[in-house]
Symmetry: C2
Subunit: 727 residues, 2 copies
């Protein structure tokens, strides 16, 4: 998919900051080891084709034998048996191929079924709710219900602690309503588009690349008879879908005979649709505005003030958490592609000549899955590389970029993302904007494939330059020299009187072109003018060459003393799609286990306490006033300690109550079964310890806030095992 399609066919680009906009890549390759899987899939297609032809041959053999009255029944029977066994073998191959392409592997539960189990639990327990459900909802808009809202708020609080506080970042909070001017400068007004096609009869809109993608996936997954060559072609189309122009996509749609999915009507040619929600600011209707498609612009336009606030010193980072909006053409993939979402973005401003980072050594020893450009091109898979090595070998462009990659890895794994299903994928050359120095996506594998959840890009000076130019306010940094430095400066002085006489109305274009000459070109012109007195000079705005005489321009080099260097800082931008991270976290945290009676599968979210929506529940074992009083006392202490919890005094069996809260991912349960001491149960181990009533809240606080681990508590307190346990 493209979201700056114009860029792909022009030399200008605003780049791929919002990589979270793009479709998950490689969504057809679901296995943990996609290249291995691809190989086995190819050989299976080959084997299937061979088996099919063997089967046809054997069919002919059987028919021939049957026709021949000389052949013994025994012989015919043997041939039929061979035919049957070929049929069985073909069926088995088809099953294997089906498994390979849809990814239902050895783990027994296939991806779709797994996702359905997670999503059912999430919806039933109100982690999220399709927005405006009673009005039949709106595609791509979701509410976070109580536990989802708590998870989100925990993730954001940790983000603030891990990034903003730890790095002393300058956090800002800018409005969502943004005037057109700003988004014109950033390039969004012109280039933030997706290609769309319309049902020519009903006017229903579809994303052009989605239709082609669906067609290819359908062929690959459902039509087992296609040849290995055909399969390779479809895969190539899928892999290069992002690079196709409107014309190329249109051609594919025609070639495949794709029609409108709902009506089978013919489709229009693809055309760009701007993804921003448009509105109008103020009552006059004359000030167009948009709902921001990202939070970053709010930081860039404030650069000057923030730089001043930071004592006019680089490097520094600014951060923003907030809503962003994208009017998707046809949102799919549930919580992964939505029309309104929370972004958390960091803009780290550095001197382009010094991208070292003082805390780089803190992360240099980390080792995790990286997927550099070269590995992707050569068809290899992601592999573990020590971060320090990736930076020193130049795979990662610079220390600061490396530092943030490391910090993002720590952030995600602390939340509970499985480190074996997390990789950092470098952008390919064709994915990256021309000005970008380097770009890596943190991709998390879930049932939809590998999903980009964080983009970490070195965007060089692009954004600040764009706003400097459009606003006329220089967004630059200064480096004061300890003593003045002598520099040689090129001085080009067009002689306007002479130029005016010669070029009249076109004088201005010629003057500007002369002034814009780079050093080399100017010095050559100077030499030529001195030797020949006249030169041909191409004026691009004028579209032709003019003759420049010696009297028309003076070119020289002068030595000047400079007291400071003025430059546009580079920006390194980690950008987090909060909703996507949370969704992947749900999948990585979900598991099922048998109930005690063995009659049902119970759902569990293994959230770390940091993320868990509620840290603890308080249960009186049986309905009894004394126990309820104790439960209320503990609940009050927990409230004072700031620990979110829930008290459940219903008469439901303790096992059921545990199961209910396991499904919410609550890590600890306090069960009141006496007035002096209580048990504390840990969710995943189901182990229980016995503590005094007075200690209960502080024990919970320590494990919930990560000051101690459950293992510490397991060592420190007596264990409990009785009929009150749930297994």
């Amino acid at each position: 998919m493209r979201f700056f399609s114009a860029f792909l066919s022009s030399s200008f680009s605003i780049g791929y900051r919002l990589s979270s906009l793009r479709s998950p890549r490689h969504s057809y390759a679901f296995s943990r080891n996609s290249s291995l899987m691809a190989a086995s899939e190819e050989s299976l297609r080959q084997a299937l084709a061979e088996k099919q032809s063997a089967l046809e041959n054997q069919g002919n053999v059987v028919r021939a034998l049957k026709k021949d009255s000389n052949v013994a029944k025994l012989e015919i029977d043997a041939a039929i048996e061979a035919l049957s066994s070929l049929k069985l073998e073909k069926t088995e191959l088809e099953r294997q191929l089906q498994a390979a392409v849809t990814g239902s592997g050895a783990d027994g539960m296939n991806r779709e079924a797994f996702r359905q189990a997670v999503v059912n639990t999430l919806e039933r327990r109100l982690f999220y709710i399709p927005s405006f459900k009673i009005y039949r909802g709106v595609a791509g808009l979701y509410d976070y219900g109580p536990p989802g809202c708590a998870v989100k708020s925990n993730v954001l609080a940790f983000w603030r602690q891990h990034f903003v506080l730890e790095e002393n970042m300058l956090e800002v909070d800018c409005p969502c309503v943004t005037p057109e001017l700003v988004l014109k400068a950033s390039g969004h007004v012109d280039k933030f588009t997706d290609l769309m096609v319309k049902d020519e009869k009903t006017g229903t809109c579809y994303r052009a690349d989605h239709l082609v993608k669906d067609y290819c996936n359908e062929k690959l997954q459902k039509d087992l008879s296609i040849s290995a060559d055909m399969a390779a072609t479809f895969k190539h189309v899928l892999a290069t879908l992002d690079d196709l122009s409107a014309e190329e996509l249109g051609a594919k749609i025609k070639e495949y005979g794709i029609t409108a999915p709902d009506t089978k009507n013919p489709l229009s040619d693809p055309f760009p649709f701007n993804l921003m929600f448009q509105t109008s600011i103020g009552p006059s209707g004359l000030v167009p505005g948009y709902m921001r498609p990202e939070t970053a612009q709010g930081i860039f336009v404030n650069f000057k003030d923030l730089y001043y606030y930071n004592g006019n010193k680089l490097p520094f980072a600014a951060a923003q958490i907030g809503q962003a909006f994208r009017n998707e053409i046809s949102p799919r993939q549930g919580l992964l592609r939505v029309r309104e979402f929370t972004l958390a973005e960091i803009e780290h401003f550095v001197d382009p000549e010094d991208k070292s980072h003082p805390k780089y050594s803190d992360v240099a020893n980390l080792e995790f899955l990286m997927f550099p450009r070269e590995e992707q091109m050569s068809g290899a898979s992601a592999k573990k590389i020590p971060l320090g090595e990736a930076v020193s070998r130049g795979i990662v462009n610079n220390q600061t970029l490396g530092y943030f990659i490391g910090r993002v890895y720590l952030f995600l794994t602390c939340l509970g993302i499985d480190k074996d299903r997390l990789r950092f994928r470098q952008h390919l050359a064709n994915e990256m904007a021309h000005y970008a120095a380097d770009c890596w996506d943190a991709e998390i594998e879930c049932s939809y494939g590998w999903i980009e959840c964080v983009g970490i890009a070195d965007r060089s000076a692009y954004d600040l330059r764009a706003h400097s130019e459009k606003s006329g306010v220089p967004l630059v940094a200064h480096e004061k020299f300890s003593e003045p430095r002598e520099v040689e400066k090129l001085i080009i002085t067009p002689v306007k009187k002479e130029l005016g006489l010669a070029f009249k109305g076109n004088q201005k274009m010629v003057v500007e072109a002369l002034e814009a000459m780079k050093e080399e070109e100017a010095m050559k012109m100077k030499a030529d003018l001195e030797s020949k007195g006249e030169v041909d000079f191409y004026v691009c705005t004028f579209g032709k060459s003019v003759s420049i005489k010696k009297s028309m321009v003076s070119i020289s080099k002068e030595k000047k003393k400079e007291h400071q260097r003025v430059f546009t800082p580079s920006v390194i931008e980690p950008s987090f799609g909060v909703g996507r991270i949370i969704y992947c976290l749900y999948e990585h945290s979900f598991y099922t286990r048998q109930s005690k009676a063995g009659d049902e599968q119970l759902n569990v979210f293994r959230f770390p306490p940091l993320v868990a929506p509620i840290k603890c529940t308080v249960f009186p074992l049986v309905q009894n006033q004394q126990y309820e009083e104790v439960a209320k006392v503990i609940s009050k202490s927990l409230t004072v300690a700031g620990i979110s919890h829930k008290i459940d005094i219903t008469g439901t069996s303790i096992g059921k109550r545990y199961a209910r809260t396991d499904e919410l991912g609550v890590p600890f349960a306090v069960t009141v079964d006496s007035t002096s001491s209580v048990t504390i149960r840990e969710r995943d181990s189901k182990g229980q310890i016995r503590v005094n009533v007075e200690e209960a809240a502080s024990v919970i606080k320590e494990v919930a806030e990560g000051l101690k681990t459950w293992e510490d508590m397991w060592t420190a307190f007596p264990h409990h095992s009785s009929a009150t346990t749930d297994d």
Copy 2:
């Protein structure tokens, strides 16, 4: 001002939830005791008028004496002296009246100057920044810069702790983009309007009520010659501005000869302008949507799921923090009236037949300024009333409403709002929607007057009913009876065959009207039909009466057993304008004090640690590697403890560094002046204690998190006084 102007001239209303939309009331009365002030202003005007006429008389006397050649010079001189002293007295009266109307009281600094001092500090230190400043900004949009963002985040974290956690509320997080359907049901599409006038030549738009308000205020404050009667008239117009219809406002504009402020061109008649930002959802352009004007609707449409989540039990509360949007016609009053802002809203659902609250006794003893309806009508001022008394005397409608008023009081005063400049004002009958049971605003006094910052309303069942009706999904609660109850039900059965023969195409209207009869009317019809066999019946949808015969309808009362009661819950809604609270907090926290040298006024924000953007600074006393190392060690411990802080190793004088951070409201400063111990300074007292390096972070954590007070530390540690102090 009106924001549901249609309501004011119709019997239907969606009410004043968004009281934060309305202009601050009584903004012409700035004194702490507005009625006293009003009295003194009136007598001053009276005295001034009398002085003026005495002056004219004396002038005549002097002129007459001068003409009369018989009069001794001594006598003339005495008369001139009397004239001069009258002039002086008049000047003094004018000064007093000017002070009374503009409020520059005995405190020396007048309101405008005070506001300017606060706002300058806030802008200079980036508490807030006009959004998109480099593009010359957009009226009514502001960014929170780093300290402002931290204050906001602290206020919201405390809100979550104080309300959501303490009351076990169900927090949700819904999108800002809202389909028209939902806001049609809530009434916003039709009624969320302000009256606007247009410059007839340039098309520039103004809020009609603002122009009238400005005219009246100008007259009252600048024209000291108007009579006390005239002044009273202008004050009446200001007080009733909210109640004026479009026609009445238009008439006032004509009467006063008000023209466009910028051009003096004539103005159009007032007409309504919808304040919602409109957009379009999806690519088709066929699904209109708006940016939500409040967060409450997201909760109402989820009622059914939330009720289920709460175990189908009442009462429970849901809460939401999020952005809301209002396309103001011409935003004024800086941070108080903006086009995008953060709301924090609670919807507490209760059984309308039982509005008691289990924790009511926790707040019943609070005593603070309340301004009941009666006091407002009688011209009295707000007075301290114990909350328990206000509820028991029926001034506050019910316990739950009273409970939230008390909790809001505690919330605001914990943040640092001055309790003497906070009052709870009850809505007057004409401010309240017809369905509302009661409504109170928490108003905070600042330089703009009394500003509504929190609205606390008992909205009865209005919102849930509106969405039930439009969506067709019943948003109701159930009360299961322990044993079935016998109830008498009215049964009205129209006989459609007879009605069809009699009324043909109009049958449906008659049937509906019959079915809609209330018990009394129906029983009267039954009696009349039995006695007369025929009755006249007015069908309002048909616009006339029809004759109903006995054969056309059967009316009876039947006894039925019911197992449960089904009802629409009432909702009690505290709604917080977060930005307004923060702005008032800035004003209440700001003060100035002389620098040590006595040569300048230093600015201080006396934020409590809970609110302070940074809890502490760390300063090496002088630039020195050893001290810097110690400072870094303390900084690291503070980061681990999660205490936001700033390290400043510049060589600036310690006094300057203290002053800089006082201006950010940083409550504590650690100054490193040895390698073994350091001093900790408290911002307001400027007192310093001496603590060991190892203890520093934990001491700061305890005072910053409110576990101990500064007084505790002052008692526990040795005091420090030396040249390092700043006074």
